[in-house]
Structures are given as structure tokens and as C-alpha cells.
């Protein structure tokens, strides 16, 4: 296969990954790495390098649309970015200390978790718990547009959320993904923020988190221009198209199919890592 043909196949796969990633809310990075390593037999370090830059592109590219909806909380996001960027530095550092096989296994587990998390669509109302003193002091409150008008919220359990965000950052730096699923877990489950606030703020944070490890990836030579070019352009194009498509009717079926694909990729990542074929 020549370079042009190879680039075209990578480009087309990346468009698909970006499209499905944005339609299902799972993100493009989490699928593109297994596709590059399992299908195209690309070394995982080049794969996570290309994935990381495409994660920055999709997060920043979609931010304008999210912000306009009025759900994302810039203060909560900024405060938690202290945790995610420090975690990302640790994760990027660990990529040289951890074996390729272990990275593959961790990646597989994260894929399985992401598929599981994508089905957790029912979110009980968190109710009005007593405001967390630390959250109030850190101004981690806000309002969001609800069907009944502006609704106020205050964050809960800030230390737990901060700790989970550090983990999310570490996974992002180690695997070259946005780890949106873990970020949403931290805000939605631990800090009891409204679901829409959690998902949009998470998207906002992904770019900053990824930028923290990108410098280290670049200096290590993980970011290969010939590979990152079709991946970044493809994932970005696919996810921007996906965010403009209104396919509410089929999103449930699509999410199920995509989750099954992710489960299959996750199992194959783990299997190939254990048998030393990755």
C-alpha cells in the first residue's frame, strides 16, 4: 500500500470514528486507538500520539456549540483542570515506564468501562442536599436552563471529584484519550452536578487536559505528522458532522451497536496484549 492510499484509509476510518464518537457521546479517541493498533498494526505510541491531537481538536471544535447552550460551568471546569492537567503529566510520564502490553490491557478495561457508562443514561435527580461548605467557598455553583426556568445547583463532595479528575487526567495522558467517561463520572456521580452540566463541562476540560500531555508526547516523538494528519482531520471532520446531525430517533440503536463494537475492541485489546500480539 502506498502512502497516499494508506493515508486515505486512515482518514476514512477516522471520519467514522469521529462521527460515531460524537453521535454517541463517547468521543472519537477511544475508538481510533484500537482501530489503528488492531486493524492497521500501528505501534500504540504513534496511535496514542495521533489520537491525543485529534482529541484536542474535537473538544475545542465543539466547545462553541456547547457554551451557547449555557450548561458548561467555567469555574468548576477550571478548578478541576488543576487535577486533570497534573494527572495528564503523570500519565504521559508513565507511558515510558509502563510496558506496551500493560497500556493495551488498561486501554481495554477503559473501553469496556466506556461502553458500560454509555448505557447509564437514566440519572435520578440529585435533590437539594445541604450545600458543601468547600464547594461554596470555591464558588462551585451555578444555574442551568431547565424546562421550568433557571435551576440552581451547588457541587457536592469536591475532594472525591478532584481525586477522580486526577485519575481521568492520568488515563488521558497514558492512553491519548479524552477520558470523558471518567470526567462525567467525577462530576455527575461524585460531585452530584446536573448531567448536562457534567457532560458539557467535561467536553470543555478535555482539550486543556490533552494539551498538558501533548508537549511531552511531542518531545518523545509520539506525534508522527504523516499519521496524525489524516487522523486529526478525519476525527475532527467526522465529529463536527456528527454534532450537526439530528438523528434522535436512531441514537439509541446506534449507541447499542457502537457500545458492542467498543466491547469487542476492548476484549481484543486485552486479549492481544496478554498474548503479546499488540
Amino acid at each position: 500500500m502506498g502512502t497516499a492510499e494508506f493515508s486515505l484509509w486512515i482518514f476514512l476510518s477516522s471520519i467514522l470514528a469521529g462521527l460515531l464518537g460524537s453521535l454517541t457521546g463517547l468521543g472519537g479517541g477511544v475508538v481510533i486507538v484500537p482501530v489503528l493498533t488492531l486493524l492497521f498494526h500501528i505501534d500504540i505510541h504513534y496511535a496514542i500520539g495521533a489520537s491525543l491531537v485529534s482529541v484536542i481538536a474535537t473538544s475545542s471544535g465543539a466547545a462553541a456549540a456547547y457554551v451557547r447552550e449555557g450548561f458548561s460551568n467555567i469555574r468548576i471546569g477550571m478548578f478541576l483542570e488543576i487535577a486533570t492537567t497534573l494527572g495528564a503529566l503523570l500519565g504521559a510520564y508513565l507511558t515510558t515506564k509502563v510496558t506496551t502490553h500493560s497500556i493495551g490491557i488498561i486501554f481495554g478495561v477503559v473501553l469496556l468501562y466506556s461502553a458500560y457508562a454509555s448505557f447509564q443514561t437514566k440519572h435520578p435527580e440529585h435533590g437539594n442536599a445541604a450545600p458543601d461548605a468547600l464547594a461554596v467557598r470555591l464558588k462551585m455553583r451555578g444555574t442551568f436552563p431547565a424546562p421550568t426556568g433557571e435551576e440552581a445547583y451547588v457541587a457536592q463532595r469536591v475532594p472525591a471529584g478532584f481525586g477522580l479528575m486526577f485519575t481521568a487526567g492520568t488515563l488521558s495522558g497514558l492512553l491519548g484519550i479524552g477520558s470523558g467517561a471518567v470526567k462525567v463520572l467525577a462530576m455527575d456521580q461524585a460531585m452530584r452536578l446536573p448531567f448536562k452540566v457534567s457532560t458539557t463541562t467535561s467536553n470543555f476540560m478535555i482539550g486543556v487536559t490533552a494539551a498538558a500531555s501533548a508537549g511531552i508526547y511531542l518531545s518523545r516523538g509520539y506525534i508522527s505528522p504523516g499519521l496524525a494528519m489524516p487522523v486529526m482531520l478525519g476525527v475532527l471532520g467526522g465529529s463536527l458532522t456528527g454534532s450537526k446531525m439530528l438523528v434522535n430517533a436512531n441514537v439509541k440503536t446506534l449507541r447499542t451497536v457502537f457500545a458492542l463494537v467498543i466491547v469487542a475492541l476492548g476484549i481484543e485489546m486485552i486479549f492481544n496484549s496478554i498474548t503479546g500480539r499488540l
Binding site: 497516499a4 498494526h41 475545542s60 494539551a211 508537549g215 511531542l218 486529526m232
Partner: protein
């Protein structure tokens, strides 16, 4: 306060979008030049790391100025990496204008971590 927060967020959102589009354009131009030169496909199956000239911002800029296609792609990716960093700077400025000193400092801490990572790559 809420109103100016909203304005700040919209400004940041637009800035991010512009940064990404500019970065994508540079990557696309570099990509077209790269494929036009019909290079041999690099061996991606084994990790060697890209050439040292494509690893640091200063060398990438120097090489891109000479029109090197791979360096142009890396330059676009550098612009992409810079976008969220500029976002944090804009947010820090916004918090300062809102006289929210606590979050001004929070933004500076995040900025310090990001710059440490880039500086580390030099």
C-alpha cells in the same frame, strides 16, 4: 456576574473554534504538500520516534519556514496544542476583569502546569 460569565464563555468558545479551524487548515496544507511529494510510508509498526527536527517547537517553526511539509503539519498541530493554552490565558484575563481573584489564581496554576509541559518538551 452571571451575565458577564456567559459572555466570557461565548468569547472563549468562539476563540477555540477559530484556533481549531486555523490549525486544521495548516495541517491540511502540510498534508497536501506531504502527499504530493509521494514519500515512502514510514514504518509505523515499530516505534522509533519521529526525527528530532519534528519534536521541538523551535525546530518545527524553523523547518516549516522553509516549507517542509512534515514540519508544516507539526506546526498546525502546535497551533492546535496552543489553542487550549490560549483559552486558559483568556479565562484568566476574564476572571481578573470580573475581580474574581481566586479564579484568576486557579487559572494561573493550570497555565503553569501547561507551560511546564511545553517547556519540558524543549
Amino acid at each position: 456576574m452571571q451575565l458577564s460569565d456567559q459572555k466570557l464563555e461565548i468569547a472563549i468558545g468562539r476563540m477555540l473554534q477559530a484556533g481549531v479551524l486555523l490549525a486544521a487548515l495548516v495541517v491540511l496544507i502540510g498534508g497536501i504538500l506531504y502527499l504530493h511529494a509521494s514519500p515512502a510510508r514510514p514504518d509505523y509498526a515499530h516505534f522509533h520516534g519521529v526525527s528530532a527536527d519534528l519534536r521541538t517547537p523551535t525546530r518545527i517553526v524553523a523547518l516549516a519556514a522553509h516549507g517542509d511539509p512534515q514540519a508544516l503539519i507539526q506546526l498546525g498541530l502546535l497551533l492546535l496544542i496552543a489553542t487550549p493554552i490560549v483559552r486558559v490565558i483568556v479565562a484568566a484575563g476574564g476572571f481578573l476583569l470580573e475581580r474574581d481573584h481566586m479564579y484568576f489564581w486557579v487559572s494561573l496554576v493550570v497555565l503553569a502546569v501547561l507551560l511546564y509541559s511545553l517547556w519540558h518538551s524543549q
